[in-house]
Structure formats: C-alpha cells, structure tokens
C-alpha cells in the first residue's frame, strides 16, 4: 500500500476544498480500502467525510425522502419508512454484500463503488478502466460478471450496485454540492456514464463535487414492488442479473409499470421503451417476452456472458409474474430474503 495523507474533514467546506484539490473522498471505505490494498487505487490524499455533520439523516420531504450521503446501507434498509413505502430499496440493499459490510457502507459510497471486473482488480493485468489504452482482457476472457448493455469496444464492465438499480427504478436524484457551495440535482441516469472510449470516466461528477444526499420520490399508491437478484450463491455475491420492478394493477391491466436492471449494464439499466410497452396492457407471458426482447435488443455478448440474455429474460418473467399476481411469492423457498 502506498503511503498517503489523511484528512479528517470536520465540515462539508473542508471536504469540498480538499476534494477540489485532488483528494479522494472516503466514506465507509469498504470499496476504496480494498482497492488501495490491491494498489488499484493509490490516492495521495484521502479526505474522510465520515464525521461531516448533516449527511447522516433520512428526512421526509414533500416529494418523498431525502437520504443523507452517509446513511449506512444497514440503516437505510431497516428504516421503517423505507420498508413501508419503498420496499424495493430495502430488498435491493439487503441482497447486497454482507451484514458487516452494509453496517459500514454508505449511500453515496454504494452508488460510486467500482466495478468487480477481475482484471480491473488485478494490477498485473491490462485494463482500460485502470490504465487507459492498455486493453480490455475481459473481452475474450473471463467475462461472466461483465455487462451486455451499454458496453463499448474499450470496456464491458458491469456496474455492481444493487441499491443503485432500485434507486434508478424509483427515479431518484443525487444532490450534488460543488466545492464552491452550489448544489445541483441530477437524475441517477445522468450521474453515470457508459464507458464509450473513456472507461476510466465513470460519472459526470466534476472535481470537488460531493454527493450530499439522494432524493427518492413517492411511488404511485397501490403499487407493488419487487427486487429479484439471481447470483452464483444465495447470498453475498454480486448479481448475474437483477430485476427491480414496480407495477400498479387496475382492472387486470398494468396501469403503471416500470423496471430497472442490474448485472447486465455498464450502469444501472433502465429501458423506457420496455416500460411503455408494458404500461396499460394485460399481463401475459407473450407480452413479458416482448418486453425482454426490447430491453435486450441492443445486447452485445461475449462467450462468457451470453447466458445473461436468456437469464435476464427469464428473470423479468419471474418478477412480472409475481408483480402481476400470476405467481405467488413462495415463502420458505426463496431463502435469499430471509437470510440475506
């Protein structure tokens, strides 16, 4: 591990100034410290925002919830208001990492966690994201955990966050503070960049900007929500694919329907056309299949991740069956929820 300076910020101004000067923010450290130990990240200065006041609360607003950047994943998932009004968010968070990690992990840190691409995590491998221009061994290599949507020639890394998928579904916005003190709101869809020819640039955050909160709007009354994560073991593994969904039924039709996807995109994935296709229609296997085809129309696959096309399509079906009442959630079998 490379020696580094450590600043413990007492206020948001101090943190912003340090970040503008090139310091790397550290919150829970559950992702950044791992990367530092591997020397994938080697920041010269760390600014610890863990003690900055005012970033740790969940507040009710007229539009919904304001979730402070430092709210831990555990606290957010357990919050009674979240569990009642935004259960998909609780479920998504609880399907990620482990209890210990979630106790440390923060809301902003979770949104900005780096990819789990194994070549990215191994400094002995080339990787365009880590060392621009060095190549992408995931292509033609072990690509099981990589994306099939939003990829480029230069990078096919998947965004790993579960929480971000639920927040994308919920049309959440990041509250971002620039070093100068100005604040802007940004839909999550615009926070993340697809890799294109600059896979090292993952977000649209500017130097010195800090995420101070995430705003989650209310959901339509009477809707049902679900988060389904399919992975290589029942808990404590990243998604092969995940589907977050919210549906409101009216007289046998999906009056409102919205889906978001994890494990398949270079960023938390949303497909407005698929939502539009489903909305107003009667649920049927054929319709679900059509929606899946729409979502997957732009999929580019590798040998190692081609399974994600049928897996996402089947998982969409499973989720839509549950959301529309065609299949009961079978208690006692899906132990992921009970034990996550």
């Amino acid at each position: 591990m490379k020696p580094f300076e450590y600043i413990r910020a007492e206020g948001i101004d101090e943190a912003g100034t340090a970040a503008a000067g090139g310091a790397t923010l550290i919150a829970g450290g559950t992702n950044l410290l791992d990367l530092m130990k591997l020397q994938v990240a080697a920041p010269g200065t760390l600014v610890d925002i863990g003690h900055v006041p005012g970033l740790g609360d969940i507040e009710e607003t007229a539009e919904g919830l304001r979730i402070g950047a430092l709210v831990t994943n555990s606290a957010l998932a357990a919050d009674p208001r979240v569990r009642k009004g935004w259960p998909v968010l609780s479920r998504a968070i609880l399907s990620g990492a482990s209890g210990q990690i979630r106790n440390r992990a923060t809301t902003a840190g979770n949104l900005l966690q780096r990819t789990r691409c194994p070549y990215f995590q191994d400094p002995a491998s080339p990787c365009n994201k880590r060392e621009p221009g060095s190549g992408c061994p995931a292509k033609g290599g072990v690509s099981r955990m990589t994306a099939i949507l939003g990829t480029s020639e230069n990078c096919i890394a998947a965004h790993p966050s579960d929480m971000a998928v639920a927040m994308t579904l919920l049309e959440a916005e990041a509250e971002i503070r620039a070093a100068a003190g100005t604040v802007r709101h940004l839909p999550l869809g615009d926070l993340y960049r697809v890799p294109g020819d600059q896979p090292d640039e993952e977000t649209t955050l500017q130097p010195g900007e800090i995420i101070t909160a995430v705003h989650v709007p209310h959901v339509p009354a009477g809707s049902v929500q679900a988060y389904r994560k399919v992975r290589d073991r029942a808990s404590y593994a990243f998604a092969l694919v995940s589907v977050a969904g919210i549906v409101r039924m009216e007289e046998g039709r999906m009056a409102e329907a919205r889906l978001a996807f994890g494990g398949v995109g270079t960023k938390p994935w949303h497909d407005a056309e698929a939502d539009a296709l489903l909305t107003g229609r009667r649920p049927s296997e054929a319709l679900f299949g059509e929606a899946a085809q729409l979502v997957l129309a732009g999929a580019r696959t590798e040998e190692g991740n081609a399974f994600k096309v049928p897996l996402l399509s089947r998982t969409m079906k499973a989720v839509l069956r549950e959301l529309t009442g065609a299949a009961p959630a079978s208690p006692g079998t899906d132990r992921t929820e009970a034990y996550a």
């Binding site: 789990r116 290599g141 593994a237 897996l311 006692g332 079998t333």
Partner: protein, 729 residues
C-alpha cells in the same frame, strides 16, 4: 522406552471397558475459548522483537525466465530492506507427505502466480508498496494454459477396459455419461503465513502447517540444513483442507531473508496469492459407464477421468478411489488421462478422489436407477459387495447398508415422488440421495503421555487444523487414565515433541489417537505396578485407582511424574482387510423454473465410521463436509483465464464457498460401530467422509425436481436454465 506397536491383529475394545465416560461425549474443544477470544496465536500473530515483514512477488507470465529484478524504485522507500530470490526459492508448496523440498526452479517460471521473490521491509505496508515497485524483466516462452491444448499421459489397463466393453455390449441396462467438475480451492480462512527466526544455525519456523514431521524434513531439505537444525511450531491452524499439508514458498522465503538480515522475518500470503500459489484441486472430466442386469445388479463399471497437473509434480487426484470398492460388478476399469498445463499445480484438497469422483459416480448410479426403474436406495442396496470387488480382500466393519436404511427412514425418503411431480409457485421441488465412502488409513504416529498426580499431559507434534485434535487426544488420555477431560492438557504442533501422523487423509484421529491410547495404556500398566496389581484388575475413574479392595487417589499414588511414549504403525490388518467409513446422504432441493436458482432445503447424512471419539467435533466435520459437497454441487469454481493461465477468482468474494443462505439445517447421525481392524481405538476417519457423494445427492435431487439431468458441476443458474431450455422448459 517407546512402546512400538504394529496393527497386526484386532485389539480388545478397552475404551468400552474403562469407566470414565468421557470418550465419545460431545465435549467442547478445550482451546475453543482461546480461539473465539483471539488469544490463540496463529502463525502470523506472534510479534517477535525486531521482526521484519516480507511480501511475496508472483510471476505475471505463465512460462519463461526471470532475467532481472530491478528494485531501484523500492530503494527510494524508507524502511525497505531488500529483495530475495534464487536457488532455494520454492516453486509451489510441497505435496502432502513429501518429506523433501518441492521443485526449486531458480529463475524459471512455470505458472502465472508462481512466487519469484520476496520483498522485505520494516513494515508490511512498505513491503507491499516495494513489491509493486519492482521491475521484473522476463524472457517469455510459449505456455500451455488452455486445457484444450494440453498433452495427456494415459494410464489404462487394456485388458480391464476390454472386459468392461464386452460386458457393456450384452448388458440389460447401460449408462454412458460424462460429467465435469470445476477446479477447487481449499479456501481456508487463515492465509498461509510463516515467521522465520534464526538462533545461530538453528531455525525456528512458526507456520500454518498440517504435517509437521514431514514439514521439518521439507524445510531442512529446502534450506540445506540438517533435520536437527529446524523446529516448526504450528499450535493453531486456521483451516487446512489439504492446502497446508506441505511446506509453502513463504516459509522458505522468510527463512532466507531472516538468515541474511539476522532478524526474524514474517511472510504472510495475501488472499489473492493464496489462490494463485497454493495447490488447488484440478478440474476433471469424468466418463462413467455402468452395465447392469435386468435386476439392476452391476456387471461392469468404468470410471475414467481427465485432469491436469504442472510438470514436475507427481500427484494426481485419485478420482475413482471409492468407485473401486463401493459397489459390486465383475468387470472394472479406470482410465486416467493427466494433462500437463502451465497453471497453478494441483494437489490434495479435502477428500482428494472422492470429493469429485463421487460427484460423477453417484450421479451415474442415479441415472442407472432411472434406467432400470429402481428406487436409487434399492439400487445401491442391491449392489453392496461382499468383499472388495477388485481384489477380493474382506471388508472390515462395513456400514453402507445400515446407513442407507437409517438415512432413508430419518429423511422420509418414501415421500419422494416421480420427476417434476412437486411444485410450489414457480419452484420445483425434488429429493435426491447418494452413498458415501472414504477409505481408512493408519499412518505412523508417536505420542508421549505424562501423568503427574491426577493431571496428565499429552505431547505430540500432531496438529489441530480446526478439527478437534486437542479435544479428542485429551479425551482418549482422560478415558484411559480415569480423569475428567479438563485434567488433561494436550500440547501439539511442535516438532520438538514426538512425531505424529499429522492432519491429512482423515487418518489423524485414528493414528495419533491410537498413539495416545497406547502411551496411556502403558501408564495404566505402570499404575497397576504401583498398586501391586495386574493391569486387567485395575480400575481408573475420577482420579481414583482401584485394584481388588485397594483404592488410592492418583494425586497420592503418583508422587513422581510417570511417562510413556508409544508409536503405532500399520500392520497385517491393513493387508488382510479393506477399511472404509461409509455413509448415505439425503436432501431436498427447490429449483426455480425460470431463474434456475437452486436452494437446498433439507439435508440428512448418516455415517458409520467406527468409534466416534467426540460426538460434537465429529458431527462438525460431517456438517462441514456436506457444506463442501453443496459448494461443489452449486457454487464453487476456481476460474482461470485460458489465454494466460491466470486465476481470476482470487478472493472470497469471487470464489464462492457456500454462504449461510446456501446451507439448510443439516442432520448428522452416527451409527454405533467399532472397527476392530482399523486400530486399537476402533475409530475410522470422519474428516473427509461427509464430502464424499454429498454434492451428487444435491444434483440428483435437482434431476428429481426438474426431470432434467445436469452433468456439469457446479450447477450455477446459467447452466440450469440452459438445461431447462434444452428440455423445452
């Protein structure tokens, strides 16, 4: 004087006559409180004055030579002490029971991840930074890193193969199926670590090792020392599972640096290095051919395997080990194709042979049951041989039939329905079973037991790798000497103590336990003499010695400490009998019809493994073994990039051992058994028995749930949906 004992004939069941009642009891581990409170010092945890810290550097090419190592950038770091490599460096850990240094390749690189140097500094962090600053100049050579390009060395008995082929032609029922199993890592919790400390020309190594008697020879050989110059301490080991059988590269790296620096050096592998460097289990391709008559009786069996190894390593996974004797059938053949590849070499990982061999064999038996139209339990019952089907050797205590019957009843096997008959929502429910066997062995082992008043000490260089050696060795001595277990202290893991079998091959408890038994038995003789009585007239219980109508407190009787040393080795019984533990696995799974997720909902195992020395630690071994089986069936896969040979699942986040949510409540039942041929304590190994076949029971249940047979382990969701889709589901 040492008691030397050869296991030439069945021995009286003395442990059934002693009356202390501690043997077999589910007693807690005596060292448990130390472990759970962080006071048990593992290999890397001793802080010696002046200790420096080393970090291994591993090769980033698969084959070639290290031409030069430029450490000028490391020299800029304060606290950098230097970089070592050279002739003594180990390419990889020694294979189990090698007793000599493994390959020392000099500047040659044979696989990606091979340790090529150690960088040492005042702190661990500086060493890690320095290691990343090295500039290593390689000359690279073409390597075989893709299994598809490997060349194979074939072993096959042509006559046996011909006999099987003939039997297959005329058989009423035939199975010919190919199964694949993934490469596995032992994935012990404690990474491999060593601290080397020199005192003149005496080397003391604190390390995480399983077989100290062999490891001391390996260390001496690697360093060019006499055996008497080395001492190894390994009192606590945080899991081994075979990966710590042989001395590792970090031990020699630490020893080299410590000698030159004149101060102790600690080298601990990073988690990633453990996955790159430590011997793994090879991936296998297994072809099973079974022939049976109309009643389901096997007439022929061929269990062929393909696996991989690095050049220069002699080990090959004994894939068909249990298939050789578990079921009947006159014609039998076992072909092995060993492919040479420039990848991390393979070696013993818990239950080498059975852990993967039974995944295929027990699945093929299930397929045969379907073909014959027999219940899978009944098929196995019909095929239990009377004697070893290959050699004709008689079996010692043989519990397979009893395990099958007990397990089936306990599990409720009679409620199993036909394929695809049960559904709950989108989940398909099924039941599966498998048989289990793991041969029993006796390995030379020596121990000393000392009795001072009413307190005894057991001393042997046996290791406790989390298995419960401290507990059972104390219990055996306590039972024999009529003492409460807490009056006995076991001192283990130090090569200055009498040399034990070590922990491996499930032979540790039977072998080292017998040496303790024999030493304690000798002490019983000495106590009888002090009492002026014959040994068989002596009763020892609760610290009292009784002979005829004389009763004395041991605390009074044993004024001066008395000691006995005993050594056991195998004898005629190993030739006259074939010895094995047996078992039966039963489980219920749910398979999601759309997503292909599999959840094991219930698991029951019944085992017969001779005398159970501690019902709690033995149960934990079997539960752990079943968890390994679930892992092999569903989650565990060490993945390499075929282009470079680089392992890409190098941490516990990406190498998926089962998580709690993957493991249901597991029931374990032991049958009452004594194996008189095994050893004087009538116990057989349990450490690896639980794995054998367990994973096959899971996939057999998946076949019952879905009506679709998966032959590639692990059955991850992508494979499950592909199989479902192929069947139109």
């Amino acid at each position: 004087m040492t008691v030397n004992f050869r296991m030439d004939a069945p021995q009286p069941r003395l442990l059934d006559q002693t009356g202390q009642g501690v043997i077999h009891k589910p007693l807690d581990r005596p060292e448990g409180p130390l472990k759970v409170s962080g006071r048990a010092t593992y290999a890397a945890e001793t802080h010696l004055p002046g200790m420096a810290h080393g970090v291994l550097v591993t090769a980033s090419i698969a084959r070639g030579h290290v031409e030069a190592i430029d450490d000028s950038a490391a020299h800029e770091l304060e606290g950098y002490l230097g970089c070592w490599n050279g002739e003594r460096f180990l390419r990889n850990p020694a294979q189990g029971m090698a007793g000599a240094a493994p390959v020392q390749p000099g500047d040659r690189v044979d696989f990606r991840g091979q340790p090529i140097a150690v960088v040492v500094a005042e702190t661990f962090e500086t060493a890690r930074d320095a290691a990343r600053r090295l500039r290593i100049l390689y000359s690279e050579e073409d390597a075989v890193t893709d299994p598809a390009e490997a060349e194979f060395e074939t072993k096959e008995d042509a006559d046996a193969a011909r006999a099987v082929a003939e039997a297959l032609e005329t058989a009423a029922h035939r199975i010919d199926a190919t199964y694949t199993t993934a490469s596995h890592a032992a994935a012990a919790m404690e990474p491999h670590a060593s601290i080397a400390e020199w005192n003149g020309d005496q080397l003391t190594l604190r390390s995480a090792l399983q077989m100290l008697r062999f490891n001391a020879l390996e260390l001496a050989d690697a360093m060019g020392l006499e055996r008497g110059q080395v001492r190894i301490l390994s009192p606590y080991v945080g899991g081994g599972f075979g990966s710590k059988l042989g001395l590792g590269p970090e031990a020699v790296a630490a020893s080299m640096a410590a000698r030159d620096l004149g101060r102790p050096v600690r080298v601990a592998m990073t988690r990633q290095q453990v996955f790159e460097t430590v011997l793994r289990r090879s991936e296998t391709v297994q072809r099973l051919r079974l022939a049976a008559d109309s009643g389901g009786r096997l007439t022929a069996l061929a269990h062929d395997n393909r696996q991989f190894q690095l050049l220069g390593e002699g080990f090959a996974e004994p894939v068909p080990q249990a298939s050789r004797f578990l079921y009947a059938g006159a014609a039998r053949s076992y072909r092995q194709d060993l492919g040479r590849m420039h990848r991390t070499p393979s070696g013993s990982v818990r239950a080498p042979g059975e852990a993967v061999g039974q995944l295929a064999m027990e699945a093929a038996m299930d397929e045969l049951a379907d073909a014959v139209g027999l219940d899978p339990v009944e098929l196995r019952l019909r095929n239990i041989p009377d004697a070893h089907p290959g050699t004709g050797t008689r079996f010692s205590a043989h519990g397979l039939e009893a395990c099958l019957i007990d397990g089936a009843a306990r599990f409720g096997w009679d409620r199993r329905a036909g394929p695809r008959a049960r559904q709950e929502g989108d989940w398909l429910i099924g039941m599966g079973m498998a048989g289990a066997a793991r041969p029993n062995m006796l390995v030379p082992s020596e121990a000393r037991v000392t009795l001072a008043g009413d307190r005894a000490t057991v001393e042997t260089d046996m290791t406790d790798i989390g298995t419960g050696s401290y507990a059972i060795l104390s219990q055996i001595a306590a039972e024999m000497l009529g003492l409460p277990a807490e009056n006995v202290t076991a001192r283990l893991g130090d090569t200055d103590l009498p040399g034990a079998s070590g922990s491996g091959g499930s032979f540790g408890a039977g072998s080292s336990g017998s040496s303790v038994f024999l030493a304690a038995k000798d002490l019983r003789g000495q106590i009888a003499a002090l009492m002026g009585a014959a040994e068989d007239g002596l009763t020892l219980k609760d610290g009292l010695a009784r002979a005829g109508n004389v009763e004395k407190r041991l605390a009074d009787l044993i004024a001066e400490p008395i000691a006995a040393t005993a050594k056991i080795e195998k004898g005629e019984m190993a030739k006259e009998t074939h010895q094995s533990g047996y078992g039966a696995h039963f489980c219920e799974v749910a398979v999601h019809a759309l997503t292909g997720e599999i959840r094991v909902r219930r698991f029951e195992g019944t085992f017969a493994a001779g005398r159970i020395l501690n019902e709690k630690t033995a149960r934990s071994q079997c539960i752990g073994g079943i968890v390994w089986g679930i892992g092999a069936a569903l989650t565990e896969e060490l993945v390499h990039d075929a282009r470079t040979g680089q392992p890409v699942t190098r941490d516990l986040a990406s190498y998926h051992v089962p998580a709690h949510a993957d493991v249901p409540q597991i029931g374990v039942t032991f049958l009452q058994e004594r194996d008189d041929a095994a050893n004087p304590i009538q116990a057989k190994g349990v450490g690896e028995l639980g794995i054998s076949g367990a994973g096959a029971a899971v996939l057999n249940a998946v076949a019952n749930a879905t009506g679709v047979r998966l032959r590639d382990y692990p059955a991850t969701p992508d494979r499950v949906i592909a199989a479902l889709a192929a069947a139109g589901l």
